[in-house]
């Protein structure tokens, strides 16, 4: 605080301090309270990580990554099917979301900049970005699960894609806007059509930022549980690449197993929770570092 309040603390004469004691107390309270608030945040993150490590490491058995989830009350088993199912659905989700997000972001940054429709879409994209994921689950349930008559991996992947898309739209637009206009003009001066300028120059210049958006979207959907409850659901069988049925996945497995009465299921839930959180935190750290790098350039 010394560096930021060089003048406030300069006067220490008794008279001045009597006059100012009220202000000084208010100042001290603010400094103390905001430091405590920050410490609180750090302690909570530390406590969550500590809990995950302590409980999660106990669940790390030799078969954790090789065996499928066991039945109720039985021993052993692992979470391999849930990991595989999560990976497949997340991957399909990102594969659907990336082209849509990339093109929509390109429209907002390159074509629509100031048009009315771009303003509306930009705004709605921001709203969709913070929309409750449970509503997206209900939407995909009505759109796919009910007509198809079964919970399915495809429905889960579509729900995840809808959550990932606005993240990619947003970062793509932000990153394309950072590309200086002269680069586009230079391309246009060479006689390149606009689409070629965008693909060969603007996208390339913003590529690190765009990839970051995709990583952020991955981090966002990897832990999503609520929409998968109504779309992919879960099962204990080996995931057999049939996306037309329920697909085992980590978040729903964690939800069901953590609240189950069986100690074996609970310890598998903790191991899964540790695995998924570490993955997501690592992804977000990488994404943030890359984005800072891009902004700094």
């Amino acid at each position: 605080m010394d560096a930021s309040t060089p003048f406030a603390t300069a006067d220490h004469s008794p008279r001045a301090s009597r006059v100012r004691s009220g202000r000084r107390i208010a100042d001290r309270i603010l400094i103390l309270a905001s430091t405590l608030a920050t410490l609180l945040g750090i302690v909570v993150l530390g406590s969550i990580l500590l809990m995950l490590i302590v409980e999660g490491v106990k669940g790390f058995t030799p078969t954790l990554l090789t065996a499928p989830t066991p039945g109720p009350g039985s021993e052993g088993g692992g979470i391999a099917n849930a990991i595989l199912g999560s990976l497949v659905m997340t991957f399909i989700g990102i594969v659907i979301a990336t082209p849509v997000g990339l093109m929509a972001g390109t429209f907002l940054a390159e074509y629509g900049r100031t048009s009315k429709i771009a303003d509306i879409i930009r705004f709605l994209n921001d709203v969709l970005l913070s929309a409750p994921s449970i509503l997206i689950g209900l939407f995909v349930y009505t759109l796919m699960v009910r007509p198809m008559g079964t919970y399915s991996g495809w429905a889960g992947a579509v729900a995840l894609a809808i959550i990932a898309t606005p993240v990619i739209v947003r970062t793509t637009e932000d990153m394309l806007r950072l590309v200086p206009g002269q680069m586009r003009e230079a391309g246009a001066a060479l006689g390149a059509p606009r689409s070629l300028v965008i693909r060969a120059i603007t996208w390339r210049a913003a590529s690190a930022g765009i990839v970051t958006g995709i990583i952020l979207a991955l981090a966002r959907i990897a832990g999503e549980t609520a929409p998968l409850l109504f779309t992919a659901l879960n099962n204990n069988s080996w995931f057999n690449a049939n996306l037309l049925g329920g697909v085992p996945n980590l978040p729903v497995m964690i939800y069901q197993f953590a609240l189950s009465p069986y100690p074996n299921w609970q310890s598998l839930a903790w191991a899964g929770a540790l695995l998924i959180t570490v993955t997501i935190l690592a992804l977000s750290v990488v994404a943030r570092l890359v984005i800072k790098d891009q902004r700094a350039r």
């Binding site: 208010a26 430091t35 608030a37 750090i42 913070s130 009505t142 759109l143 060969a200 832990g223 549980t225």
Partner: protein, 324 residues
Amino acid sequence: MTALTQSIAVASESGVPRTAPSKTSDRLFQGAAYGSALLVLLVLAGILGSIVYGAWPAFSEFGFGFLTSSAWNIGTEQFGALPAVIGTVAAAMLALVIGVPVSLGIAIYLTQLCPGWARKPVAMTIELLASVPSIIYGMWGLFVFAPLFARFVQVPVSNLVEGIPIVGTILYARIPSGVGVLTAGIILAIMIVPFVASITRDMLDQIPTVLRESAYGIGCTTWEVVRHVLVPQASVSIIGAIMLGLGRALGETMAVTFVIGNANRLSASIFDPGSTIASRIANEFNEADGLQLSSLMALGCLLFIITFIVLIIARLLVRRAKVA
């Protein structure tokens, strides 16, 4: 850059006269971009449409009474939204009351007080809180926080206020199990803190340093700079950030489902179990059909209306907040 020069060079070297450069592919590209952008609009409309469609049987059966009824009886097929709506609003309000001061404190610490070398790591730590999946907050809340909360807060407070009118009702836990509306509010508060804090910090950072320096120059304390210079400058965006946090708190599902206790009745005590719209949908959806399923959809419809109004106001106030 190389790809462009190459493709242009290749075109001229091959001797083919460059016709007006591929107008159709240009058009296709722009069309694809436009179409993808419109898809965003379509998805939002689809969400609203599908939920209203699913909720229609419940709305036509119960009419306006759905909002005011607190029944939730699967046997007699009587359903009402009141307890879930009140639970949602109560938990979100508690989250704001607890979370907003903490968020502002963090933002002030990061912009005004934090030594330069610690600024990045501390900001990163707070932002990482936003990436923790909500189901992990649920587990932390249920297995770590709730037992401590029951032992050190619910039991002593309940003993203290027992018999006192009003306070004794609001703060009395019949069964001090640690789960309940207040616990949900606290967990939600922790979840919204990183969002509100980082948006507020960005807004405070955008205020010109000159304003701050001149205030310090006439002898203001940090508190006075914050109170009279920073807060008035950033107040609109801070309110927007708070609304954004509110939107999150209203729609949060998994964390709340773990710690709210999932009771279907109304209770005057914030220590008692309750339920929110989202937690009830998450709990009952897979076993529901017929009118119950439709009533859950109707709850979803109410959640859609409430959160989208909040989010739209928030976004109008904070036009370009971070993704996080």
